[in-house]
């Protein structure tokens, strides 16, 4: 059966007629993307405030009475879970995925628009359930974002009644939302591309989002299963994960469960989750770098293969998060080896980004600055990952601030820099206005240098053995007093970086009102989303006719062509193939 492109089925468009169907119960992927993105950023701001509260406690333990030990653990937990799942996953896949997939593939919408709308509203419900835990007796869970049993559901842990239950329910609801969205993204990419848009002509953004979505579809079930089983332990008294245990001098009714089993399940989700966040970032940054360096991405095929390889390998490295759980040394050896192997395709991508910049006609505008900043922070976080991937080095560094510094650099700061690169890059398409460059550059330098001021010293705290997750370190023999000075400086830098984000929001709202008109393709980009007849694109994206794709997504600075970019919709050879072919072979 020949597949008729969805885009040509005009009756499928669900044209909105009222304010409600246009902006609230909208089935338009662009509106849903903004709804997803806006919600994710809002809940992310809550997590940012929590981190400031934590830093105030750590930097100036005797000066503020903002939080007590219990609320410190609650802040740690909610900060981590919100940032990883409810902000980054939702923003990259629900936000950028929704906006870019149909536009970059050249279709009018997702293949299942109603399901797409449902996905957002269920996601919003999961966020509301999560946030409601701030208002129940005992507050949100303070079990740490890994929610390890037995302490997660044992009395004495903050939020061990209502908080943990709401967290588990919220995660379950989030996963349902993600599955609805994920099935849509994958099916749209596979089955609803414009004519001529082969898989290997897709921009790397779409490849990153595609593989991350597949990872999510296969990895989130592990979190769902562990959440369901822990809810059984919590509410029905089963002992899936709960061992025989005493709490507050009393023997609890649990017997024989395995907390380690939970850890395996959690990290079987948790490690792919790193790449669920990282792969879309890899894809988006590739497109930003290529566009603003006016060069084709170096080694496109290798980049695609690396994304696929990283996706596959990410399922066999999970236990490197569990080296201190008492595992068999051979088991540790296996996971250390796979961890080092996954560094190969990852390093390949880094080399290719750098080689894309090599001899490029680099335009150091705001999106490019954030993209280049990402290369720095990602190399930094990646290299410390090589330390922690080795069992013998991980053991002494485990649960220290070295680990905190590592994962914040590699999956906190790096993806966030890409989020900003992408927002500055695609804002003109989303709104039709350019963002203010001066404010943008100021935002970049404050964020980039500020985050280094936060996380670089944290590595040294880790070397000193300063443990993570402690409300107050107190006085110890092995931690010198100067560590506290370092902590104060980190806190000041953290507050500085948090406040610097105000620049971004000022820029977003100011530019929306007073920004320069962007035109259809202000960056001179090749990909389809910049070739829409209207900016911002109207419902249905492409007007009467769908685009037809004639070339790959990276024809920049092609010798002999009138412009330094050739849009994917332009027909004709221009002698490009010989030139590229000779270079590749």
């Amino acid at each position: 059966m020949a597949y008729v492109p969805i885009a040509d089925q005009a009756q499928e468009l669900h044209d909105p007629h009222s304010f409600i169907t246009k902006y609230v119960w909208s089935q338009d992927h662009k509106v849903i993307a903004i709804q997803y993105g806006g919600t994710a950023i809002m809940v992310g701001l809550v997590a940012l405030c929590l981190s400031v509260a934590m830093r105030l406690q750590l930097g100036f333990p005797d000066s503020f009475s903002l939080i007590d030990p219990s609320s410190y653990y609650q802040a740690v937990t909610m900060h981590g879970m919100i940032m990883v799942v409810y902000l980054l996953t939702a923003l990259f896949l629900g936000g950028f995925g929704n906006y870019l997939i149909p536009l970059m593939c050249g279709t009018r919408d997702m293949v299942f628009p109603f399901l797409n709308m449902l996905s957002f509203w269920v996601y919003l419900l999961s966020v509301l359930i999560l946030l409601s835990s701030f208002f129940v007796t005992g507050g949100p869970t303070g079990a740490g974002w890994t929610l390890y049993p037995p302490q997660a559901i044992t009395g004495g842990t903050p939020g061990s009644d209502g908080g943990i239950f709401l967290m588990l329910v919220s995660l379950g609801v989030f996963i349902i939302a993600f599955t609805m969205g994920g099935l849509n993204y994958v099916t749209t990419i596979f089955q609803a591309r414009a004519k001529g848009m082969t898989m290997m002509r897709l921009p790397l953004s779409v490849w990153g989002i595609l593989v991350a979505t597949v990872l999510g579809l296969f990895a989130f079930p592990a979190l769902l299963v562990s959440a369901i089983m822990m809810t059984f332990d919590l509410k029905l008294g089963t002992s899936f994960f709960m061992p025989a245990i005493m709490a507050a001098g009393e023997q609890l009714d649990y017997n024989g469960g395995s907390p380690i089993l939970f850890q395996h399940l959690f990290w079987f989700f948790g490690h792919p989750e790193v790449y669920i966040v990282a792969l879309p970032a890899f894809g988006l940054v590739s497109d930003v770098l290529s566009t603003h360096a006016r060069k084709n991405i170096f080694g496109y095929r290798m980049m695609v293969w690396a994304i696929v390889a990283i996706g596959g390998l990410s399922f066999i490295v999970w236990a490197h998060h569990m080296y201190v759980s008492g595992m068999n040394p051979y088991f540790g050896f296996f996971f250390a080896t796979t961890t080092l192997i996954i560094a190969v395709p990852t390093a390949l991508k880094v080399y290719n980004w750098v080689l894309t910049l090599w001899e490029g006609d680099i335009r150091l505008n705001t999106p490019m600055l954030f993209a280049i900043g990402f290369i720095f922070t990602f190399i930094h976080g990646g290299l410390t990952g090589l330390f922690l991937g080795n069992v013998v080095i991980d053991l002494p560094l485990s649960d220290t601030y070295f680990v905190v510094a590592h994962f914040h650099m590699v999956m906190g700061v790096s993806p966030v820099l890409v989020v900003f690169a992408a927002l500055y890059h695609w804002y003109p398409k989303i709104t039709g206005k350019m963002m203010n460059e001066t404010l943008g550059k100021l935002h970049f330098w404050c964020t980039f240098l500020g985050t280094y001021a936060i996380y670089l010293p944290m590595h040294y705290l880790g070397f000193l053995g300063v443990p993570r997750r402690y409300y107050a370190i107190g006085s110890t023999d092995f931690i010198p007093a100067s560590a506290q000075t370092l902590n104060e400086n980190i806190t000041i830098a953290a507050i500085f970086v948090a406040l610097a984000q105000i620049l971004f929001f000022i820029n977003v709202f100011w530019s929306l009102r007073s920004g320069k008109p962007a035109g259809g393709n202000p960056w001179g980009a090749t990909t389809l989303e910049w070739q829409t007849p209207d900016t911002p694109p109207k419902h249905g994206n492409w007007g009467e006719k769908l685009p037809v794709v004639h070339r790959w997504a990276y024809d920049y600075s092609v010798p002999g062509y009138k412009d330094d970019f050739i849009p994917q919709t332009v027909a004709g050879d221009f002698g490009v193939s010989d030139d590229h072919d000779s270079k590749e072979s």
Binding site: I228, G256, V549
Partner: protein, 204 residues
């Protein structure tokens, strides 16, 4: 779509678009079928993971095997008949026999609803015998696995009911053919899943 051929192509080489309306490098399937297959893989992953925890927990020393209620065999039969009815309905739909497609489709739902009721009775029997969800690990897994399967059956019945209403109304067979086909695939999947679960639960 050949994945190897696709991944090894050289996109930087100029190639004029091919003739015709077929989408290049796509699966030769309706999007709904692609999405359903993907969903079945996702559901399969969920059950595989619970299955792994089941076998790990089985070895932890405090396992008391459960004697499975005989009613489960009858319930299995109901699900088998439901699946067969759907297959006949699908074949009838492709032979443009609306009446047969409709009756067999309705019948499949009734058998599946009977399966749900039967499972509920099994739970009642176990509870009456003092084997609650928290009695021992075997009973906990029994309720968990059968419950998860039941949720998937109920989800299927919800989609089935939407199609059934269209079939009972005046909907043209051509417009519901795909829904019948999707339900059939999903029911076969539910049946295979149940047989595997039943085998796992029975062999401890």
């Amino acid at each position: 779509m050949s994945i190897y051929k696709e991944l090894s192509s050289k996109p930087w080489e100029y190639r004029a678009p091919t003739e015709g309306t077929a989408l290049e490098s796509a699966f030769d399937l309706a999007p709904e079928k692609v999405a359903l297959r993907l969903f079945m893989v996702v559901a399969g992953v969920i059950f595989s993971l619970v299955g792994v925890t089941y076998y790990v927990r089985l070895d932890l020393g405090d396992w008391v095997p459960l004697s499975d209620p005989g009613l489960l065999w009858w319930n299995t039969g109901l699900l088998v008949v439901g699946s067969v009815c759907l297959q006949i309905s699908r074949n009838a739909a492709f032979a443009d026999n609306r009446a047969k497609a409709r009756s067999m489709f309705i019948l499949s739902g009734l058998f599946s609803a009977a399966f749900v009721t039967g499972q509920w009775f099994v739970w009642q029997q176990l509870t009456a015998a003092g084997l609650g969800v928290n009695t021992n690990p075997a009973s906990a897994f029994f309720f968990l696995l059968t419950g998860l399967h039941l949720v998937h059956v109920l989800g299927g019945l919800w989609v089935w009911s939407k199609t059934a209403f269209r079939l009972l109304g005046k909907a043209d067979l051509a417009t519901v053919k795909l829904s019948i086909e999707l339900c059939t695939s999903y029911w076969h999947f539910l049946l295979v899943l149940w047989v595997l679960l039943f085998a796992a639960l029975a062999n401890t």
